[in-house]
């Protein structure tokens, strides 16, 4: 386990470093924050003073060295906008995103398991065709549009839920419903595929001939064996949610990390942006490890004795199994860094 963890950390460190350096450099290419933070008629002296206060007068490599020196002492800089510690701001926003992503994934998984199993019981039946159409549509609706339609129908016309905010259970309905669509649509297809192949295995025949009820055959025998591929895809989708909720968080005014990230990009709040990127990167790293552990629990063939290699191999085999070419990943995808935030 420890060897596995150590290998994991080492192989993730390089991409992580490149991303942080890249974000650092790119962020500074977007323009001088002085133009945003100082009044229009600011004098040259004021601009210089601003630059010196924020360390922007130094060459970029000096700034970078200072930043990494700070990171080693757990000092992630201060926000230009609020003067607060950047790490505090990121840590404060993060639970909101985690709660949102957690609730969404829980609902998506439960629904997808029910619908996907029901569809798999009779492949190419009416229910199967219907669920595949629904899931395909769910996976291709743009979330920002769905959010707007939701606001229009349920918040403005019917007045059942607030348009934004985090107070009360009603405020959760629209953001969660919007975010659930894509994971649900993708997972239904994965669960269905895994269940179809699992239901045709000999052990199902054995269970049936023992006289197990349909409920037990599906629920206990087939589902448990179909869970592993579902877990892999669910993990990937959660990773997407953790850093892809930008649009939904912006529309619903959800004070999460996605909104903080886009705000700090637009406001040239470099320290906060870097803290956000680092935090999501670490979170995704932890998430990937949790998925691997859950995987080992589900599938005895990939218990730790098989080593990281066997584990990854099995994971990738399952990725290939669900018939989506997009997920036939390579075994080298262990980078703990946020996938494109565009997944929003």
């Amino acid at each position: 386990m420890l060897t596995y963890l150590r290998k994991r950390i080492i192989s993730s460190a390089v991409p992580l470093l490149v991303v942080v350096v890249g974000v650092f450099a790119l962020a500074r290419m977007t323009g001088n924050p002085a133009a945003l933070y100082l009044p229009l008629n600011a004098t040259e002296a004021m601009r210089e003073d601003f630059a010196i206060r924020n360390g922007l007068d130094q060459p970029i490599w000096v700034q970078m060295a200072q930043y990494f020196g700070g990171v080693l002492r757990f000092d992630f800089g201060t926000s230009m906008r609020t003067g607060e510690s950047a790490a505090d701001m990121a840590l404060r926003a993060f639970p909101a995103t985690l709660q949102l992503a957690g609730t969404t994934m829980l609902i998506a998984i439960v629904l997808a398991v029910i619908v996907g199993s029901a569809a798999a019981l009779n492949p190419n039946g009416i229910l199967d065709r219907f669920s595949s159409f629904v899931s395909m549509t769910a996976a291709s609706i743009p979330d920002f549009w769905l959010a707007i339609v939701g606001i229009w129908v349920f918040a403005i016309t019917l007045g059942w839920v607030p348009t934004s905010g985090v107070l009360g259970a009603a405020a959760w309905v629209l953001p969660v419903a919007t975010l659930v669509m894509r994971p649900f649509g993708t997972l239904v297809q994965v669960v269905r595929g895994a269940m179809v192949s699992s239901l045709s295995e000999p052990y199902i025949k054995l269970a049936r001939s023992k006289g197990a009820t349909q409920y037990r055959v599906v629920g206990a025998h087939a589902l448990r064996n179909a869970a592993a591929p579902g877990l892999t895809v669910a993990g990937d989708l959660t990773v997407g949610l953790v850093n892809g909720a930008v649009v939904v968080e912006t529309i619903f005014g959800w004070p999460g990390i996605g909104k903080l990230m886009i705000d700090s990009i637009l406001q040239r709040d470099f320290a906060v942006l870097q803290a956000c990127v680092l935090l999501t990167a670490i979170a995704i790293f932890v998430l990937n490890i949790l998925i691997d552990i859950g995987y080992a629990l589900l599938d005895p063939r990939v218990r730790p004795s098989a080593g990281a290699r066997g584990r990854r191999k099995a994971r990738n085999e399952h990725r290939g199994q669900n018939n989506t070419p997009a997920t036939t990943g390579t075994p080298t995808t262990s980078a703990p860094v946020p996938t494109a935030a565009i997944d929003a």
């Binding site: 290419m29 996976a139 850093n243």
Partner: protein, 324 residues
Amino acid sequence: MTQIQEKPATQKTVKANATQRLGRPSMFSMLLRDKFATVAAVILSFVILLAVFGPVLMGELATKQNLMFMNKEPFDLSNGWAYILGSDSLGRSMLARMVVATQTTLLVAVPAVLIALLIGSLWGVWAGYHRGRRESISMRIADIIMSFPSLLLAVVVLFVFSPSAANIVLILAITRIPIYMRTARAESAELQSRTFVDAARTFGTKPNAIIARHVIPVVTPTLLTLATLEFCFVMLAESSLSFLGIGIQPPDVSWGLMVAQGRQYLQTAWWLSILPGLAIVVTAVAANMLAAWMRIATDPAQRWRLTLDKQTKKSLTTVIKDTK
């Protein structure tokens, strides 16, 4: 087995139908066998035609303001056909604006998909064929690109360069290259250990020739299917960027931008953002369905599903059920 023998007629029809189609069925006939895919193909062709010819026909109408026709409701023929889909706050025809936006949307999505497909596939196939260091370095690069916050990349391009459609194409293409790279690498790494590749190697064929003549033809169907799926994704990504204000900039117009612009009029004129959004959904679902069909049609092991007519299929399923 005994049950099959009791149904000789069924078997005969299956056989007769099978002999009717010697050789490979054409893609077109396979498309017609799948109703969903046929509808999807028709929708996509219509969208493409709109994008090519629409702006020529309606370009002027799309920018013509008419304050007499402000915020007209859609589906009301009394305002004339140009306002069949309503009008915006400046009295411009929604129909014409959506048609023009079709072109912008496709002009971003299609080149982005093609560029990413070309670069990503070639790179991935090359890396997978050669294995070793070339492979691991390439995959590291893919990891890095994948993990980069592309929102930030979009903002950088927007501020440093001009926010033109070409630059958005570039961002979307770069961020999507790793997807093709990974798939192409995995496939070609598997292929390069096959006997037919070994045979070519033994005859002294050069690596590049092997890649071009033996590896690429095999991986192409998978990659094309992936590209169709990606078209859906890239279109959604473009509209997300435009929606956040870092994609297509006014006075250009794309579906995503129209949704964003209509957002503030949601209470008074719902159609301004609902209709362009519907256009996105319909196109995306069509692309998704076509990809689902392509996945079956290009897979030699599954293709037979699309070569059977309804009657044969029915008799075949009874045979299968009986053997069970």
